[in-house]
């Protein structure tokens, strides 16, 4: 078994490290690089506590090998706030009491930011579906949904105030503020009550 | 878990199937993922040793009843098998020991247990042969218990995989029977004798058509 030298850019900082092939990205982040904000909650890739952004997409870092992420840009919860200002999703979680024990929260917020980039103005139902990859055992989710709604409003207001559109900045798709959500949200299949 | 089913083998006879299923070599070659199946003295088996022993061994598939008689399953006999069960990327290798606890034409049953690094199983199975319009029906049933990782994590796949192993086993038996028949037909042309006729007596004699014969061997 050969070890591999890899490079990870985490929250804007480049790191070089040597890992075994089997080292999971989440362990590289936590144990090797000290980004312990990202938590591990299960090993079946279901709970989403370990969610980070890998090259701008939310992924479960327990289901990515560190070697697979060689050369990638990673954003963790530690990188959400900018210049000491909370990201609107963070403020949303605090204002709406969207967390209790806080263990699922980093992953939940990383998934939520990814959701809001794709769909800046989700309905409550869409938020619930959009967070299906993240489990929370404390809150009953209602205040998490509130938190994401709150963040969406905040980001929308911020964008309007800036004269811009969060979606522009986020993915360059050009769709603005959910006005043609059809671009990013697929029509419902129907019948998939759950 | 209990599984059971009936497998229909076409264009064959109960005797032929009995002979085939009495042959550890045919069984070994028909069991998907079976590296070896060999007779052992008792149930306390050193598989590392067996692995070494079996690396260069040659096993001859044959339809020759005399040869099969030499190595046929015996009631009370113990057999060791190394079985790899593949389910997509999940490929545990089970060190398995089987004991034939009943063998009386046309019925056979066995108990066994196998273990891999983090899982194990126990099973008891039985089968009986009967004649049908165009061949033989093998009625089989297996009761299996699975333990460890596979029981905990692989619950969804155990049942269908077990079914698949059985299905592939019998379709492989069917293929081997067909090959034997073809070979036998070839022999028949050469010898101008009737192997089926002469075989039958031999089957009776060496494969324990009466239960009392097999128990003292």
């Amino acid at each position: 078994m050969t070890e591999h030298d890899i490079t990870l850019t985490v929250n804007g900082t480049d790191h070089e490290l040597t890992v075994e092939p089997r080292t999971l990205l989440v362990h590289a982040l936590r144990d090797e690089l000290g980004y312990t904000g990202t938590n591990v909650g299960c090993e079946s890739s279901l709970c989403g506590a370990c969610t980070v952004h890998l090259d701008d997409d939310a992924v479960k870092s327990c289901t990515v090998l560190a070697v697979q992420a060689d050369g990638a840009t990673i954003e963790t919860v530690e990188g959400l706030a900018e210049d000491g200002e909370f990201h609107p999703v963070q403020s949303g979680f605090q204002e709406e009491h969207g967390l209790q024990c806080g263990y699922c929260t980093p992953g939940m917020m990383m998934a939520a930011t990814d959701l809001l980039e794709e769909n800046p103005d989700p309905s409550r139902e869409e938020i619930r579906e959009g967070l299906e990859g993240n489990l929370c055992r404390c809150t009953g989710y209602q205040n998490i949904v509130n938190a994401v709604e709150n963040a969406a409003d905040e980001m929308h207001a911020g964008a309007v105030a800036d004269g811009g559109c969060p979606a522009d900045a986020a993915d360059g798709s050009g769709s603005c503020c959910g006005s043609d959500a059809g671009d990013v949200r697929w029509p419902e299949d129907g019948g998939e009550s759950e | 878990m209990e599984f059971s089913g009936t497998f229909e083998l076409e264009e064959t006879t109960v005797d032929e199937v009995w002979l085939a299923l009495s042959d550890p070599v045919l069984v070994e070659q028909s069991l998907p993922g079976c590296e070896f199946l060999i007779r052992v003295d008792d149930t306390d088996v050193d598989f590392d040793e067996l692995r070494d022993e079996t690396t260069d061994r040659e096993v001859e598939p044959t339809a020759d009843p005399e040869v099969i008689a030499e190595r046929a399953f015996e009631e009370g006999g113990h057999y060791a098998a190394l079985m790899q069960i593949s389910v997509g990327p999940v490929n545990p290798t089970f060190e398995t020991v089987v004991t034939i606890d009943h063998r009386e034409y046309p019925e056979m049953s066995a108990v066994g247990e196998g273990s891999s690094s983090n899982s194990s199983f126990e099973m008891s199975s039985g089968m009986s042969l009967s004649e049908t319009d165009d061949g033989v029906a093998v009625e089989w049933e297996t009761e299996a218990d699975v333990f460890g990782k596979i029981a905990q994590m692989g619950q969804r796949v155990v049942n269908p995989v077990a079914n698949r192993v059985v299905k592939r086993f019998f379709s492989s038996v069917q293929d081997q029977l067909r090959e034997r028949q073809l070979a036998a037909e070839g022999d028949a042309t050469a010898d101008e004798s009737d192997p089926t006729e002469s075989d039958r007596g031999l089957v009776d004699r060496v494969l324990g058509r009466s239960g009392s014969d097999s128990s003292d061997s």
């Binding site: 919860v77 979680f93 209790q100 929260t105 404390c138 989710y141 205040n143 509130n146 | -």
Partner: protein
């Protein structure tokens, strides 16, 4: 609808108590700064992993650790015998104690590493220490264990059968205890004279707690001082310190237990497990820091599970629909060993709550505890009270049906009346205060019950099946007083301790022996203390969860923190104020009796301009230049608060569901929760607790359940197979509250941590059964999966078809082959 949270800066000091301020815990948690146990790194730290049984029940023939020991990076491997070696320091018991005794209890040995027998899959056989966590787990796989498998049992009723294999030599027929409460004779009489009865057979399934953070521990030892520090996922560090000191033989005063940030507990982090003791013992033995973090599959096999009851219950009514008697017979699954508080859960936390909100003149309940080959069963959110509430509220539904009465009216008729408090039940508790009609009325209004039956009728005409379910629950929390607990078998007091300390500059640190793990104590306790001392909220810091810092404590569980811990903080604050008053009086040259204290100011009665602020008093107390005679300097106070009684929160939850009989699927139309938890310190946090509790209750009703096969192999061994509810599984909840103060504590609070979990299951089950009334379905076992509901309906014809007699219907679902087959659980 939702309560809006407030920035604490915008709240007047006088209004801080009761304000829905944002939590001060959150900034660390939402930035990743918070430190959970697994985040802790130490130089030279080694990792522990545990080899656990592959079988539910087996003899250990041989444990061969040689291959594991030979692996590169493996430091050492321990088995049972290593714990008892002569060179082992300390000499502990190496067995886990049980902290609650009953007269008939068979105490069984629970070694932290199995000796010659394993009794459930989580049983630890050997423990590996390696240089990193991957290696440690590799080495566990290399341990070769030779088992002789034994017959296993997982169902508590089966466990008691004569021909079932016994788990423990000293527990004949697998009976852990027999226990009863109430008056059997009177109850029999009530049934003899009853005009109507309703009955049910039910299973309250085993649940796996699933705190999002798996259990974990990091221990480090200083040989020079003999100090052993253990950082662990604990709900009650002091209790863990006491228990662990005995288990591993390390003196209590040299053992420090600190709970860093803890990612949820729900009961599962109360108990003392083998794993954390092993971490501590190894750290001491190796003199190196040791870390262990459970994998999720390990938590599924080892975290104490909850519930696990099989119950038969009957309700007797007179001709008018008054409940005259209740009879309950329960067999409780205790799992393979007695966990820390296991014996209390299906007895004193269950039988005593069976009267529910009702005035029932005769009750009798018998409980048999059974050992089975599942993990130890102990407190899980609600702990005994959800099981009790489920029984009585399912019977209330069936009783109303039997009487042909509206289920709300039937309940109202039988409520303990508002003027009857304090009310002594027939099952040995005295309800402190209550107004049950008020919560019911509010819930009915929020759910628009008046129009519901019409909607239901109309929907049925369209082939849609709506149902409403009520749960008028009662809860007991803040177990107390200690004297009573002792009489009942507790091996611990149930007081709470706190210390409130003024610093010379005027800020305050409040230490409390509870140990929050998501409940927001840092916020609510600061609200309490700031209010008591009349100082700004931001001047109060709260410290919890560290045996080195906090005088003593009993921990956080059973919804006790506000009622007992919060009250203790009030007591400490009051003591502190009393001392400050004397100093103030001295400074103001007045008699202490003439000093009023309000808003942080001491004033001389009748001379309001003669005043001194409490911060100034604090400063004076440390300067100590001018103190009353014989008074010690400094300003702090400690209290051990032992409440007079439990507190009894209550409420009404209403679920409205639509059931699709073709698919067995359920959709929530509405979920209304009206809770009375007494005074609310922080309504936003109260609301959050209700939400989370309801979600776990809905989880039990619809999704969750530990399933074992006949060999006690856990089949729901991961989140792939055990459904922890996701966001889209949980309904939008409408919450409301009433306030009936508890007279038993200075805050008038009652506790809210478990309310939702206790209330929700029967609200949902009652709603589903109500929806399926046209199909003559009386009961569906939990979790009510789509398949179970479909099975309950399948083959039954619709409304006009012949219906069973009400008496037969009241027998519960088990007469029906479909539901019976379904109800037995999943060893298919």
């Amino acid at each position: 609808m939702s309560i809006e949270s407030i920035d604490p800066d915008e709240v007047d000091a006088a209004d801080i108590l009761g304000s829905a301020i944002e939590r001060r815990e959150d900034p660390a948690l939402i930035t990743g700064d918070a430190e959970y146990t697994d985040d802790i790194q130490r130089q030279d730290m080694v990792h522990m992993a545990i080899c656990r049984s592959q079988h539910g029940h087996a003899k250990l023939e041989d444990v061969d650790t040689s291959a594991a020991e030979a692996m590169d990076g493996v430091v050492t491997v321990y088995t049972h015998d290593d714990l008892h070696r002569e060179d082992t320091p300390g000499g502990g018991s190496y067995s886990l104690p049980v902290g609650w005794l009953l007269d008939s209890l068979r105490e069984v040995d629970h070694p932290i590493l199995a000796d010659d027998r394993v009794r459930y899959q989580g049983d630890a056989i050997a423990v590996v220490v390696a240089e990193d966590r991957y290696l440690a787990h590799d080495a566990v796989d290399a341990i070769d264990v030779d088992y002789e498998r034994l017959d296993a049992v997982t169902d508590p009723v089966d466990a008691l059968e004569d021909d079932t294999a016994e788990l423990h030599d000293d527990a004949e027929d697998n009976v852990a205890f027999d226990w009863e409460i109430g008056d059997a004779e009177r109850t029999d009489e009530a049934f003899e004279s009853a005009a109507h009865t309703a009955s049910i057979d039910l299973e309250n399934q085993l649940l796996i707690p699933n705190a999002m953070e798996p259990r974990a521990a990091v221990a480090e030892y200083s040989p020079g001082t003999d100090e052993l520090d253990v950082f662990m996922t604990s709900q009650n560090p002091h209790l863990h310190r006491l228990l662990m000191s005995g288990v591993i033989g390390h003196p209590e005063h040299k053992l420090r237990i600190k709970a860093p940030e803890v990612g949820g507990g729900f009961g599962s982090k109360i108990h003392h497990y083998a794993d954390e003791a092993l971490v501590a013992w190894i750290a001491k033995h190796l003199e190196r820091p040791v870390k262990w973090t459970a994998t999720r599959t390990e938590t599924y096999k080892t975290d104490a599970q909850g519930r696990g009851h099989r119950t038969t219950a009957d309700l007797a009514m007179n001709e008018y629909g008054d409940i005259v008697g209740l009879r309950v017979d329960t067999t409780a699954n205790l799992g393979a060993y007695l966990s820390t508080f296991a014996p209390a859960v299906p007895t004193y936390l269950y039988g005593t709550l069976l009267s529910g909100q009702y005035d029932i003149p005769a009750i009798h309940c018998s409980v048999t505890g059974a050992f089975t080959n599942v993990p130890p069963v102990d407190a899980y959110r609600g702990a005994g009270r959800p099981e009790a509430s489920f029984v009585i509220e399912r019977l209330a539904k069936l009783g109303a049906e039997e009487m042909g009465m509206d289920p709300a009216a039937f309940r109202r008729r039988n409520f303990v009346p508002e003027d009857a408090f304090p009310y002594e039940t027939q099952v040995a508790v005295v309800y402190d205060s209550g107004d049950y009609e008020k919560t019911l009325d509010k819930a009915l209004e929020m759910a628009d019950y008046e129009s519901f039956r019409e909607r239901q009728e109309q929907a049925r005409e369209d082939g849609r099946y709506l149902g409403v379910g009520f749960s008028c629950y009662i809860e007991a929390c803040g177990l107390a007083p200690s004297e009573l607990a002792g009489q009942l078998g507790a091996q611990a007091g149930l007081w709470e301790s706190s210390l409130v300390r003024f610093h010379p500059s005027g800020t305050v640190t409040a230490f409390c022996g509870t140990s929050g793990h998501g409940q927001g104590h840092a916020t609510t306790y600061a609200q309490i203390v700031a209010n008591e001392l009349g100082i700004p909220y931001e001047d109060v810091e709260v410290v919890e969860g560290d045996t080195d810092e906090i005088p003593h404590g009993m921990g956080t569980y059973g919804s006790r923190s506000a009622a007992v811990g919060g009250s203790s903080l009030v007591k400490s604050s009051q003591k502190l104020v009393d001392k400050a008053r004397e100093i103030a009086a001295h400074q103001l040259e007045a008699d202490p009796a003439d000093i009023e204290f309000e808003g942080g100011e001491f004033r001389v009665t009748g001379a309001p301009d003669r005043s001194i602020g409490i911060k100034a008093v604090a400063q004076q107390s440390y300067l100590a230049h001018d103190m009353p005679e014989d008074m010690e300097p400094g300003l702090e106070a400690t209290s051990f608060y032992d409440p007079d009684n439990f507190v009894f929160p209550f409420g009404t939850h209403v679920a409205v569901v639509e059931v699709d009989p073709k698919s067995g699927e359920i959709e929530f139309d509405q979920y209304v929760a009206v809770d009375d938890v007494g005074n609310q310190i922080n309504p936003k946090i109260v609301e959050g607790q209700v939400h989370g509790g309801v979600a776990q209750g809905v989880g039990q009703a619809l999704y969750e359940g530990a399933e074992y096969d006949s060999n006690a192999q856990l089949l729901t061994g991961s989140m792939q197979d055990y459904a922890v509810p996701k966001a889209m599984h949980i309904p939008e909840m409408e919450t409301g509250s009433t306030v009936t103060e508890s007279p038993h504590n200075p805050l008038g609070v009652k506790g809210v941590g478990e309310a939702g979990t206790i209330a929700a299951p029967q609200a949902v089950v009652n709603a589903v059964v109500d929806a399926l009334e046209p199909f003559d379905v009386d009961h569906v076992e939990m979790p009510m999966t789509a398949e179970r509901i479909w099975n309950a309906v399948d083959g039954r014809t619709e409304p006009d078809a012949e219906t069973e007699t009400p008496a037969a219907a009241a027998d519960g679902g088990t007469d029906d082959p479909d539901t019976a087959a379904d109800g037995t659980g999943g060893d298919s």
